[in-house]
Subunit: 200 residues, 2 copies
């Protein structure tokens, strides 16, 4: 800072890569059937993100009523110089922007009365886990486990004990191990491509 | 979504209010002396944010070497329709943008070799706590306690047991209760002004 008298900035923007925009546009109002279909779509995003030089993490928000995609996210930590931009955070921010509300919690009379679910390629780190109740997410679907991310050197942070039960106490349903083998293969693919472990 | 065929958005921006920009510009390269001075500045931000219709939370990142402000943040959850935009998250995102890096951790030869500290009007919620190690913050300074935020109806989330020790195990120093009385008065001011408890 001493030698860098830039004016302090007061705005921040991030953009998902063009290929995410293309994939979400192509997906349109497709009705996804079941957790595996959604997870496979999310893992495809993660695969593209590795090819694009990003982290091996992807996520998306879907309507629980319609099975449709609301917003996608990929890890943009390195690309956007921002440690907050994990895939889940990007998906949450974009879904709320899409719906014009700071909460995705369903309200009476809304057209998605069951609310929204977050599908993530790896169990959320401490930050993303903390973000889920504030976001109004009603269901969380995870691919790889914390231990799978740790196995390639990523740190998941200090999560509370029995975090899935804590979410459930907040009426947020949790489904783990969906396509875990494929999700873990994605993490290993990143490791084998010499991807940077930026918080290890 | 069914009746709302908006194209899916792939970018997200937020801007701090003009008065934050003014206050940070006025502050410039002032050298803050000690935790209380920094906290008083942060609490002033929080006071303005309440007047502006925002949540009673503010934060800022300072250089540990120079005692200078790097970036400020206020709660923009309602204003930006985004549950992620707690004061700490805004300050971290803007500080990293300011420094052009996804980590604030000091590197050899840098001009702020001791790194950066986050000063926050209230102890961080579960999400912001999880964000701190990823951000590369080396010291955390807190005003009001979790219990003080809960006392006016805010939810701090499920934080790990002994979270201050867990940060310290990651070489992040923690100083709590700085101007706690004034910081708690700010929370009560929000309650008395009928401020919305948006995640209660």
């Amino acid at each position: 800072m001493e030698n860098n008298p830039l004016p302090m900035t007061a705005d921040f923007c991030f953009t998902l890569p063009a290929w995410v925009q293309q994939l979400t546009a192509d997906t349109g109002r497709r009705k996804f059937l079941g957790d595996e279909e959604k997870m496979e779509w999310v893992l495809e995003l993660g695969r593209y993100n590795i090819e694009d030089g990003g982290g091996p993490f992807a996520a998306a928000v879907f309507s629980l009523d319609h099975g449709t995609l609301v917003a996608a996210g990929v890890n943009r930590v390195m690309a956007s110089n921002c440690s907050v931009l994990h895939a889940e955070i990007c998906a949450i921010m974009l879904a709320q922007q899409q719906l014009g509300s700071y909460t995705l919690a369903p309200e009476p009379g809304e057209e998605s009365p069951k609310g929204y679910e977050l599908v993530t390629s790896t169990e959320p780190c401490a930050m993303c886990l903390g973000a889920i109740p504030w976001a109004g997410i009603k269901r969380l679907v995870c691919g790889a486990r914390d231990a799978d991310a740790r196995a390639i050197g990523f740190d998941e942070g200090d999560k509370p004990e029995r975090w899935t039960e804590k979410l459930e106490q907040r009426s947020i349903a949790v489904q783990c191990d969906v396509c875990r083998i494929e999700a873990t293969a994605l993490l290993k693919e990143y490791l084998n491509s010499n991807g940077k472990i930026y918080n290890g």
